[in-house]
Structures are given as C-alpha cells and as structure tokens.
C-alpha cells in the first residue's frame, strides 16, 4: 500500500490515454463506414461495411471501457488516498490494451464471431474475462465493507460485478443448444447486452458523482437518500428493462410486459431532471470556468434528450414504428457520444487536463466544445428524422424496394455525414491535448 499521488498511478492514467486513442480510431472508422451511406459501394472490395462497422463499434466500446476503468481506478485511489496493488493495475492495463488492439487487427483479416457489439472471435473473450477478474480483484482490494460508503462505491461495485456476469452470459451462444435456437439465442443475447450497458453505465455515472463531489467539495449528494433511491431504480432497470430491445421477437410475452413496466419507472428519473433543472443551470453557472464541469453539464442535457426518446421507444406500440430504423442508431449514438463520451471527457480533463503545457485556452476550448455539441445535435436529429421517415414509408408503402428507401433518405445522410465530420473535428481538438499530456506523463514517469 502506498500513499496516493497522481504520479504513483500512471497506469490508471494510461487507461484514459489509450482509451482516447480508441476514440480517435472510432471516429476514423465511423467516418469511413459512413461514406458507404452516402456513396453506395464505396470501398466495397477493400474495406467493406462488415469490417468497418465492427472496427468502429468495437473502438467506441473499447474507449468507453478503458476510460471508465481508468476513471474508477484513479478515483478509488484518490478517494481512499492509497494505491493498492499497482502491479496488478499494470497487468490489467496490458491485458486489455493487448487484447483490444489484437481484436481490431483481427477484424482487418475478416475474423469474426458475428455477434452484435462483440464481433470478435470468442478466443479473445478469454483475455477479456481474465482482465475483468483482475479489475474485480483490484476493486475489492480497496473495500472490505459497503457500510457507510457513498453511492458511487455501490455503483462501481455493481458495474464491476454485473459486467462480468453479463459478459459471460453473452457468450452462452457458444453452447450449441443455445446457438442453434434463434429465438432463445437472441433473447439471451439482448438480455445480456441490455444489462451490460447498464453495468458500464454504473461505472461511468458512479465516477461522475465522485467528480461532482470533488468539484463541489462535499459529499452531500453522494450520501443522500435520493442518490441511493435513484441508484436502486437504475439497478432495477439494469436487471429488468432490457426486453424493450426485443419487442418484435417471438419470445415469451412476460419478457415484454416486464420490460414495458420497468422501463416506465424511468419517468421518475426524467421528472427529477426536469424538477432539478433550474438548480442544474445555477450550478453550471457557478462552475462554468471548469472544463470538466462543462462536460458534466452537456451530459445532463443529453441524458434528458435520450432518456425522453428511450421512454417513448419503450412503449411497445411506439417501438414497432422505430425498431429496425435509424431512430435506434440515433439513440445509440446519442447515449454513447452525448452521455458516455461527455462524462468520460469530464474525467479525462480532470485527470489529464491539468498540464499547462498542453492546456487549451478558454476560447479555443469553447470553440471545440461548441462545434462538438452542435455537430452532435445535428447528427442525432438527422438519424432520428431518417428513422421516422423510413418507418413511415415502410408502413405506408409495403412494396417499396430497400434501395428506393435509401435513395429517399440520402439527403439526411449527407447532413449526418457533414455533422459527423464536425463531431470528429471537435472531439479531435478536445482530445489531442489530453493524449499529449497522457504520453508526456507516461514518459516523464
């Protein structure tokens, strides 16, 4: 056990640096993949969509996981003022960095498992499971009891444990009895994915509460009954609301009824955001000079927009109009970029953004930040409008050819692409100083 100091935990900081590199990769592959939306057949024989999509999606997931792990490890050490098992943190770092990089390489050679999100060969899962068990051990080295702990410790514990469970569950398809029964396979697949996203959100939201406490200089919120009530509600949703992904799948009706009922409890969270919005705005003005806080504020706004959309999508009668359309893509992008990435950038700026050699000036930061938010809003809206139009045309013109649908949606995809370019420029501008700072810390260690 060693006293905590930022420089004592370089590998936790390196998670965020490497995570940011995965974010850059996700932007690059995303732009290349999106080219195929606007120029049909572009790159078809060199880098076809079945390679570019997993490269993009996995890079984005790896950014989220690496940065979330880095934030949790850094904040745990900071909160407890000790660094425990630094060697194991290093082992964990190398396990994930190696396996994630190897996975991206394997896609280039056309090696797939063909599963949504986790499209890599199942052999890589062995490394990921080992890495996550090391993370779990690293986490529990810090906490022998949950008594008197603030809510973020409960959230981190939930995220660490449930991610492992749901990741193992997502590999049940390897059993022939599951794999060769389509409805069972898809039910279990989306059950695991729905809960897994909830699990990594627990890591991220827990870290955001820690950071907010740190900025405010007290633990008033993280120990309040309201914080624990919202945590319990989020846990309830993590466990039981995943069925809204599969309303059209011919699985047991109770799966859908449970999901519908549980998803509606999120209205409470939405109501609380509306009720507390004036306070959020006054806090935003108070901390407007802190870069990290700006990302926390942006994430709040994106939570509101995406939660509203998610609740509408969770009503089965509305869901069937949006399911299988770009509304779902818009929602996924809105949550992974608008919420997850904004929060992770808040942590990245808090942990890596204090190096004056690489710090952005306030005006440059504001330009990059505003480009990012405006581009993301345009990107999100273009996808949602395209999705609604696709749904309308499919419902009203049953014989319409798929190619014709695409031709009609193409103007929206041009907006989507230009907004995507703006988003990439904004995020690149925001991330590069952090990456430079991260490499500088690593080399100066």
């Amino acid at each position: 056990m060693e006293p905590y100091h930022n420089s004592r935990l370089p590998y936790a900081r390196n998670y965020i640096t490497v995570g940011l590199l995965f974010l850059m990769a996700a932007l690059l592959f995303g732009l290349l993949a999106a080219m195929q939306y606007i120029v049909p057949g572009w790159g078809r024989d060199v880098f076809s969509f079945e390679k570019l999509r997993p490269l993009h999606v996995s890079s984005a997931v790896f950014w989220i996981l690496m940065a979330a792990m880095g934030a949790v490890l850094t904040y745990i050490s900071e909160g407890e003022n000790t660094v425990r098992k630094p060697t194991w943190i290093k082992v964990q770092f190398y396990l994930f960095t190696f396996s994630f990089a190897a996975i991206l390489l394997s896609y280039c050679f056309g090696i797939f498992s063909g599963r949504e999100y986790w499209e890599f060969h199942p052999y890589f899962s062995i490394l990921i499971v080992i890495g996550w068990i090391v993370f779990l051990l690293n986490f529990f080295h810090y906490f022998k009891t949950l008594k008197h702990q603030p809510v973020y410790i409960w959230m981190w514990m939930t995220g660490v444990v449930f991610f492992l469970f749901t990741y193992l569950e997502s590999n049940l398809w390897l059993l022939p009895g599951v794999r060769h029964r389509l409805v069972q396979d898809m039910t279990i697949q989306w059950k695991s994915y729905g809960s897994m996203v909830g699990a990594w959100n627990m890591l991220i939201y827990g870290s955001s509460i820690f950071l907010m406490d740190k900025i405010a200089g007290n633990q008033t919120y993280s120990r309040s009954p309201m914080a624990f009530a919202l945590y319990a509600l989020s846990l309830f949703n993590l466990m039981f609301n995943w069925g809204h992904h599969i309303y059209t799948l011919p699985t047991a009706p109770y799966v859908k009824y449970i999901a519908y009922f549980v998803s509606m409890t999120e209205l409470f969270i939405l109501g609380r955001i509306i009720y507390g919005w004036s306070q959020t705005l006054s806090t935003a003005r108070k901390y407007a000079h802190i870069y990290s806080y700006k990302f926390l504020f942006a994430a709040d706004a994106w939570v509101f927009a995406n939660l509203g959309l998610a609740i509408v999508m969770s009503v089965p009668a509305f869901n069937i109009y949006m399911h299988g359309t770009h509304v779902i893509v818009g929602h996924t992008m809105g949550t992974t970029i608008g919420i997850n990435t904004m929060l992770l950038l808040a942590f990245a700026y808090n942990i890596l953004g204090n190096d004056s050699r690489y710090q952005l000036s306030t005006s440059r930061f504001s330009v990059a930040y505003n480009i990012t938010q405006i581009s993301l809003a345009s990107f999100w809206l273009a996808l949602i409008v395209a999705g609604f139009l696709k749904s309308y045309w499919q419902m009203t013109e049953p014989t319409i050819a798929y190619g014709e649908l695409w031709n009609r949606m193409r103007p929206l995809f041009y907006i989507f692409y230009v907004a995507g370019l703006g988003l990439a420029v904004g995020l690149l501008y925001l991330a590069v100083p952090l990456i430079r700072s991260g490499f500088s810390k690593a080399s100066s260690k």
Binding site: P40, P176, L182, A232, Y257, P316, A317
Partner: protein
C-alpha cells in the same frame, strides 16, 4: 445501521430476482415451430462468420445497410436469394461463397422464416401501449 441494512436488503432481493429471472430464461422451452436442422445450423454459423449481421437484420436487430432478412425466404423465390448470395450487389461484396455455403444460408433463411414474422405491420397495437401478433410464419 438500519439504513445500511435496508440498502443491503434491497440489493440482495433485486439480485436474487434477477438471477431467478435469468435462469428461467436459460432453461425455458422456446417452442420454436420447427427446430433448425443441421444444414440450417451450418447456415447460421456462416451468417456469423461472414458477419452478415453488420449490414442485415433479424427481427430488426443488426445493421442498417441492407434489409431485414428474417422472412426473406417467404417473400422471395430461392433463385433470387441465391443470385444475391452468389454475386453480391453494388453495396454488398461478393463473398465467393461455395455451393454448399449458399445452400446452408438458404436453409438458414428457410428456418428463420418459420420462427415468426418480423414485419412491424403484422402487429396489432392496443390502447394500453402493448402489441400483439396473430400469425407466426409467412409460409
């Protein structure tokens, strides 16, 4: 102290319910009308190995570059499907599939078509927000 006990009880109860629900779903009888035969199983393995789901959907889940293929076997003649698989399209690359791979994929589409109907128009919407579906397969 009582506050802490309440937190532990809530967490434990939810976790136990979650595990019970999970195991019910693992061992439930899914009553698929026709189980996948060996050729359809091979077709599903090829579907995954070629990462077809990155562009196409089954039951609306998957990529968006190509159409949903859950019921393609019920909507199109077999030679039509075969032609796509053999040559690709402007957007879809030619995967140079062998005859046996093409037959396996067609058997897989025949199987997916028996599992249900993915078309959102086949659902009846109710005032309480729920949906229901009458038919279970296209042909």
């Amino acid at each position: 102290m009582r506050d802490h006990q309440l937190k532990v009880v809530v967490f434990t109860v939810l976790t136990v319910l979650f595990l019970c629900y999970s195991f019910v779903l693992y061992f439930k009888d899914y009553q698929e009308t026709v189980p996948a035969d060996a050729l359809a199983q091979k077709g599903k393995d090829i579907w995954q190995q070629k990462n077809c789901g990155s562009c196409h959907q089954l039951y609306g889940l998957g990529g968006h570059l190509g159409p949903d293929l859950t019921n393609v076997y019920g909507k199109r003649e077999q030679p039509y499907i075969e032609a796509f698989l053999r040559t690709g399209t402007t957007v879809m690359p030619n995967f140079h599939l062998s005859d046996s791979e093409i037959n396996a994929l067609i058997a897989f589409f025949k199987y997916t078509n028996t599992t249900g109907v993915a078309d959102p128009r086949s659902f009846t919407k109710h005032l309480d927000g729920t949906i229901s579906q009458q038919s279970s397969s296209v042909r």
